[in-house]
Symmetry: C2
Subunit: 210 residues, 2 copies
């Protein structure tokens, strides 16, 4: 990937130090996301909090990465993952999901989603399941030694997915030329709730379009 | 919907007052989401901000809605939309997208997504496009007088979607029994980047599974 440094360019201690700095910041913003949706404190406290949060955002933004995170040239592979809206420890939008790489190139994770990811009352928003599954299937493609962008993604919602503790897993089926076929699911304690299948396109053709 | 109050139960002035209170709070948290990903200020400032944000989250959480937002019984239809992860003015995860209802039951919006929604460098995460399109298609189903949960959703990624200013639109094709067929897209200045088609299932069958 253009401009991507080898992870060895930053020693492990330095990467650990940076994660120990940025991950708690993102965690505190995740608490605020939940609080913004669920708070029932009095009007004065909310107004006061809003002003304080704007001031802190201003201080944090005083010096920042130009444009988006991923376009930086001096960034390692490990750091690149920190900004993902699904798995990124530095992105407060991400639950974040901590994917494990299993045998046979399968990836899997247990995770938890709360109020910020709600669609129908008490249930995960269907689009949130789609967001997660696109990422998890892409990670399975990566685990199998490929790197591709999503070409087609199909989601089948078998039954409602409740908010709370969930499981996800994905693996690739096969590769044909520049196409890699992957499938995965989200499950609760009662079994699969959403299934996904996707075709991922390796870089050269993804740039040219399908 | 169970427990949903008629919007007339809260007068318009009261709904406007609540939105004027909660929307700025969510906006300030959106600034913090972006700042958490992009900040390059010194370590001491980040550590201090983290502690301050945790304290504010604690104050806001001192009194809050039990579990998730949507399971409240005393909530109007207008308020229910406030917590959506796509369109909700009270949900900091949402850009938020402000959908307009056009003629012929089409829904559409211009919107902007930044660093928090990035997948490949400078591009919208494919799963974020899926999240948005699931919601926009569902809203088209709603605009046509139905209410359904996603049964199947298929996304075709025509070319990469750049971060920045984008457009989305959706409409329903037809209804057959309990199934409503919808389609939509996301576009940049150069035209369509992602297409979606979905089958939405009306409530009775969605509860029983497909």
């Amino acid at each position: 990937m253009t401009g991507q440094l080898d992870d060895r360019a930053l020693d492990t201690a330095e990467i650990t130090r940076q994660e120990a700095l940025y991950a708690p910041l993102a965690r505190s913003v995740r608490q605020l996301i939940d609080a913004a949706i669920r708070t029932q404190v009095d009007e004065a406290t909310i107004a006061e909090a809003t002003v304080a949060l704007e001031q802190i955002a201003g201080r944090l933004s005083a010096r920042q990465i130009e444009a988006s995170y991923g376009v930086q040239t001096a960034i390692t592979g490990v750091q690149r993952g920190w900004a993902s809206p699904v798995t990124g420890v530095r992105n407060p939008i991400a639950p974040p999901i901590d994917l494990r790489h299993l045998a046979d190139c399968e990836v899997a994770a247990d995770f938890e989603v709360g109020a910020a990811y709600e669609g129908p009352p008490g249930l995960v928003h269907g689009g949130v399941s789609a967001l997660i599954l696109d990422h998890v299937l892409g990670e399975a493609v990566h685990a199998a030694g490929h790197w591709g962008m999503t070409g087609t993604l199909t989601l089948r919602y078998r039954r409602p997915t409740p908010l709370g503790r969930l499981h996800t897993a994905a693996r690739i089926d096969r590769a044909e030329g520049r196409k890699v076929f992957a499938q995965g699911h989200i499950a609760d304690d009662g079994g699969v709730t959403v299934e996904a299948s996707g075709i991922f396109i390796l870089p050269a053709s993804s740039v040219e379009g399908l």
